[in-house]
Structures are given as C-alpha cells and as structure tokens.
Subunit: 147 residues, 2 copies
C-alpha cells in the first residue's frame, strides 16, 4: 500500500514551502476534475474576517504548482512566471482551489518542448470555490527547466 | 510625538491579517516613491530556497492595500478585486514591494466616485525589487465601499 499522490504533494508543500504549514494548507485530492488544495479561513483571514486575497492567490498557485509537480517531477523544476486572479465573492470558511488537469495533447506538447529545448512554458486554470459557488478565478503560467 | 503611518499600517496588518505575522511582514516606510512592505525570504521560501511566488504576491497585495488604507481609512473599506503579477527574477533575501502613490487627480476622482456612488474602483502598481533590480511587477484593482 503506497502513499497517495495527494499525500505526497502535501508533504512536499509542508517540507519545501514552510509558509504552507502556517496557512494550514492541505491537499484534498487529485481527481478527474483536478488537483485540489485547501486552507482554512481561520488561519488566513483579513480585516473583514473573510479570506485574505493574498492567501487565496497562494492556495491557487499551489494548486497549479502541485499538479505540475505530480505530473512532471523527475523531469523538471518549475517556477511560476505570471498569474492573474479575479475575485468574485468572499470566502468565509475554506479556501478550496481546484486546478484543472491540462489536456493530454497539451501535456505532450509541453513535454516535447522540454525535451527539445530544456525549457518549456505551460498555463493552468484554477477555480477557487465555496459551497459550489466560484469565489475566484486564477490563471497561471509556469516555466519548467529540465533537470 | 505620534506613531508614524508606516508603524500604524504594520500594526493594522499584524492585528487584522494574522498570516502577516507568520510571514514576518513589516512596513518599511511611506516615502515619496511609495508605500513599502517587506518580508524575509527566510520565512517565505520555496523548494528552490528563493521566495515563494504566493508570498511575493501577498506582500505586493499588502503594499497596495496598505497605501489605500492609509489614504482613505475612515472613508471606506477595501477589497482586492483582481490582480496580475509577472515574476522577472528570483528574490533571495528580502521581498520588498513598493506601491506607487496614485496621482492627486486620480485619488480625487476616486474619492468623488466613492461619495457619489458609495462604491469606487482604483488600480495601483507595485514593484517588487531586490538590490535595485525589478523582481516582479504587480497591478491590482481594489474596490472601496463607503462606510
């Protein structure tokens, strides 16, 4: 019986990005709809007692980064190159960010570019939701460097 | 002898947005060139031992938010509505985000809209730098609601 990819990613976050512990970040799963990262508002609130925008952005960034790490670890290191986030409504209890898995063709193109050039770029889309409502929409571009 | 605006803003962050304490956020000043927020990479590193992109974004968001809070507290509450960040180079020791003060005319237009509509939107530009080099560029749109 092995450790699940979700548990591996959570341990990786907690070890390598220690702020994720202070934020109470957990990886909730890696399912058909995407890679899911959560953090409680209790550790991430702002002056209005809702989730701090900086925390929402950080959780969304981790959702994108974690998905790519699971898909490509061993092959590449990543950094986030740019991101845009739109906040739609406040988050009151749990920040829940879901990064959609890129399509198979897109991942293959990306891997081929990485093999050929030693470097490649990929964009991901992350939705932050609460009680089934969209709270924020995030897009991030990550650059990978072959190891 | 009173407390400086920079010290007031730092206390406000630490009290109202507790993650800023875990991040080691400090307000370094409010000068001609802008409102300056810093955080040490030692509390905000990633898997490469450089600053985590989520932390850089959070410090930049605080620089924008803090400047608006100092300029308009008493008149309005703010939330960040959207933001975009481009990462140019890694930050190795200190995340230092400088929010440029909006022009006088822009602030007046914003305040007039707030008085008239009870709600107004303003954009700010934040530069993250280290050793005089630009490490990231951030633009954020904030929405204010009259109290």
């Amino acid at each position: 019986v092995g450790v699940t990819p979700a548990a591996e990613a959570e341990r990786y976050f907690h070890e390598r990005i220690p702020l994720t512990r202070a934020m109470g970040v957990r990886v909730a799963g890696y399912e058909e709809r995407g890679f899911i990262v959560e953090a409680p508002v209790a550790l991430n609130y702002n002056h209005l007692q809702t989730a701090f925008g900086g925390s929402i952005n950080a959780v969304a960034t981790l959702a994108g980064y974690g998905l790519l790490w699971l898909e490509l670890r061993g092959e590449a290191d990543f950094v986030v190159a740019e991101s845009t986030i739109r906040f739609r409504q406040p988050v009151c209890e749990t920040i829940r960010a879901i990064c959609a898995k890129p399509g198979k063709a897109e991942l293959e193109t990306f891997k081929a570019a990485l093999r050929e050039n030693g470097r490649a770029r990929i964009s991901v889309t992350v939705t932050v939701e609460e009680h089934g409502q969209v709270a924020a929409e995030f897009t991030g571009a990550f650059v990978a460097y072959r190891r």
